[in-house]
Amino acid sequence: MLESVPEPAVPDVLAPSLIGRNGLMLALLAVALLLPFVVQNFLIFQLTLVLVYAIAIIGLNLLTGFNGQFSLGHSAFYALGAYVAAMLMDKVDFPYPATLPVAGIACFVFGFLFGLPALRLEGVYLALATFALAVATPQILKLSPLEYWTGGVQGIVINKPDAPFGLPLTQDQWLYFFTLFVTVIMTVLAHNLVASRTGRAMMAIRDNPTAARSMGINIALYKSLTFGVSALYTGIAGALGAIVVQFVAPDSFTFLLSITLLVGLVVGGVGWIPGAFFGGAFVLFVPNFAESISKGLSGAVYGVMIILLIFVLPTGASGLVRAALQRLRAHKIQ
């Protein structure tokens, strides 16, 4: 009985000719670079958060979409990354860009270690263990012996960085470009990882562990490594999120954050890396939209949307894009 995640988006349709694809990427990047000069500061801030969520969702996608492991506990890795960054800046005056690699490495180690026992857990059991991790995280962050470092319930407030080199940018614009820079690097790395020998091993384990093992893939190693890399992505997103929001507190990292990331993953499409951007935009803007429909019922509207999505569009944005491309191609052939 092999109950794995939905089939990944078929690459042949989503990967048109190399020039066409690169051209599309460059055009999107150009739009992303121009956006902060035409929209309001608050929208820039929101777009920055979309990118932060997108990095975290890519991390979750590497684990769930490409390796077939579940996690409801990614809020814990996000929290760890955010706290590492905040503590380094608050206590030892680390420059903010330098906190990202430290947060990433800390999360990689933690994720790898958590992934070791998780090796023996499959499907719903792993969801359960990571669920417990997510629920326990805020309590651990509030722990009184750690209060000197974590700030307890109050959390830590961070200063907003100015644009360096005297660039004529507002703080929000600068943070947006900084985040965009990190996002592009992380996306390219994820794309290359999935396309590599390692990525094929990850997908082989997802599709058929027994066959993967008989082909000489070290399942234990790859599974824990994937857990580590996934945590690393989410931790870097957490560190970026802390810098952007300028504040970390235990109650920002509840189970709800894990839900948010999971929803972003499902919306964007499981096993399709660019889907993370659709997912990130969805989890940031749709709750606001839901709140505008009815203030008290925002959670309910959000929940109904999740369920409808699973019913109507189980492949998420990747399915939509694929259908659109297929139609386009059929048009061309005629």
Partner: protein, 292 residues
């Protein structure tokens, strides 16, 4: 020693609630093979219905029975409307749908009854039982209700035709269908019963943790810990697991400084991960075998 005994008894009392939630989780797991992450919110919503009925002046026990009936119907409806269409979908879809249900119920309860903490009445009173102060009347009542529930469930599954049909449907759906059991409806029935058990657990724990939309998250986590400890395929194991978790939680909270008090959820996390790693089938569960 007296403190130890007192805390153990108090732990057993809260453990009965975890046992009920664990039982509800196991019933759903047996019926559809998935862990219902919305089980806690379903119980919370039922408890709010009971609170509303009591606010309208309904006597406690009538409100109690009405709530159990409404919850049963609600559970069946949720299965029919939300889960039936995705019964063959992958695990991730199920988890996402359960998370959606959780968000809907939580937000709806907050919308209808607001997020303020409300006291919930107990039918047993809070006077110490037998005057020695070891256990109060409400705790004793919780234990009694749970035992009654267990006896009822045992009788239902052991001695009635429907109970037998439900066991058959869970054990081997294809053969059950061939002998004329309507497997789909047995699943819906299992959902209804899980919702009803959850409602009872909610109404019993509400006087202790107070009523608010987020009251069940911790209880659900302990319920999961209990279910995993006892074995997800064994209802009896779930009850024993829930009781053990209740006692461990209470004793750790009393005797281990800092960790016991402030890291209660972490204890549940450690129990879950430790059991899953060392004895994944739990205390009384059947090991899962895969054909390769």
């Amino acid at each position: 020693m007296e403190l130890f005994l007192q805390q153990t008894l108090a732990g057993l009392a809260t453990g009965t609630i975890y046992a009920c939630i664990a039982l509800a989780i196991v019933m759903t797991y047996q019926a559809i093979g998935h862990l219902n992450f919305a089980q806690g919110e379903m119980a919370m919503f039922s408890t709010f219905i009971a609170w509303q009925l009591i606010q309208w002046g309904t006597p406690y026990w009538i409100a109690f029975l009405a709530t159990v009936a409404v919850s049963f119907a609600g559970g069946v409806l949720i299965e029919r409307i939300v889960l039936r269409p995705i019964q063959h979908a992958p695990v991730l879809s199920h988890v996402a749908v359960f998370i959606g249900l959780l968000a809907i119920l939580n937000s709806l309860a907050g919308f209808i009854w607001d997020f303020n903490v409300k006291p919930f009445p107990t039918p047993f009173g809070t006077a110490p039982l037998l005057g020695n102060g070891f256990i109060d009347a409400h705790q004793a009542g919780m234990i009694a209700i749970t035992l009654l529930l267990l006896a009822f469930l045992y009788g239902f599954f052991r001695f009635t035709r429907v109970g037998l049909a439900m066991r058959a449907a869970a054990h081997d759906p294809v053969s059950a269908r061939l002998v004329g059991i309507r497997v789909g409806w047995m699943t819906a029935l299992g959902w209804g019963m899980a919702a009803a058990i959850g409602a009872i657990a909610g109404m019993m724990i509400a006087p202790i943790v107070f009523l608010e939309p987020n009251m069940m998250l911790g209880v659900l986590l302990y319920g999961f810990a209990g279910a995993v400890l006892g074995g997800l395929s064994s209802p009896v194991g779930a009850v024993i697991g829930g009781l053990i978790v209740g006692v461990v939680e209470n004793l750790a909270g009393t005797f281990i400084p800092v960790i016991g008090g402030e890291l209660k959820f972490t204890i549940a996390l450690v129990i879950i991960v430790a059991v899953l790693v060392m004895k994944p089938q739990g205390l009384l569960g059947r090991p899962v075998l895969h054909r390769v």
